[in-house]
Amino acid sequence: MRWLLALLLALAPVPLLADSGLPPAYWANRQLPDPRQEAKARGLMEELRCLVCQGQSIADSDAELAGDMRDLVRRRIAAGERPDKVRAWLIARYGSWISYRPTAEPAAWPLWLAPAALLLIGAFLIRRRIGARR
């Protein structure tokens, strides 16, 4: 009986992270009137990681926090701030985690070195193949 109850409880949907009842922020799903500014904001939003849906950019995510962050990005770009400054402001709060663009930090060195390493391994393999055929 107890396990049946436990099973039923496990099957019952638990709304752990409900959404708020407030509408999205003004600039969350609205383009800026100036297409050049919108393009800048868009470029930045595609490189910022959503804190809720962590595999998505804030441009892709439907999470409310992502909407609020799009609003923040568009407002700052519209106020004349450069995308790099907005990115730096967010990195100061969440770390380089928030940005998809790789940095020059030591943690990212394997990423930068990987293409060179793969090319070297490829060259080595080809040389061996050619050497073996002769």
Partner: protein
Amino acid sequence: MRFAPLALLLLVVAALVWRLATPEDTTVKSRMGGQLVPDLVLHSALPGGPDRPLRSGSCGPVVVNFFASWCVPCIAEAKRLAELKRQGVPIFGIAIRDRPQDVANFLARNGNPYEELAADPQSKVQIAFGASGVPETFVIDPYCIIRHQHIGPIEQEDVPIIRKQWEDLRK
């Protein structure tokens, strides 16, 4: 060399098993520790309440708690916050994306542990703190510097920890 593919396969499987056994930590810690609290003026979360600057001559020590009426874990956390209040810890509540009447209902149902209450309808304060969800809690020192962060609901065992963090900043 003949066993290289097999070794490679084993390596990949080992890596996958390891990641499954120890899942990645997905909490995002704020980088604002040791920094001044954001210089913002906040509106009250309740109808007709006063505006309040976040930064002032003497900030605390105070516990800043981000919560929301639509946040389920916040209901359980309300009891722990009440416990902290009983122990004399002042708590500054910031309601994320909330309506005044919903906040009032939430407090009527779960008790009001907050000395002051501010609204954050567009998550601006939350982002300025480097917080990524609700509930989340920060401890601020008398000079308005963010000292500690607690991610997720405060559990029973966290109460003495937060109480001590606050106590240590009083001197």
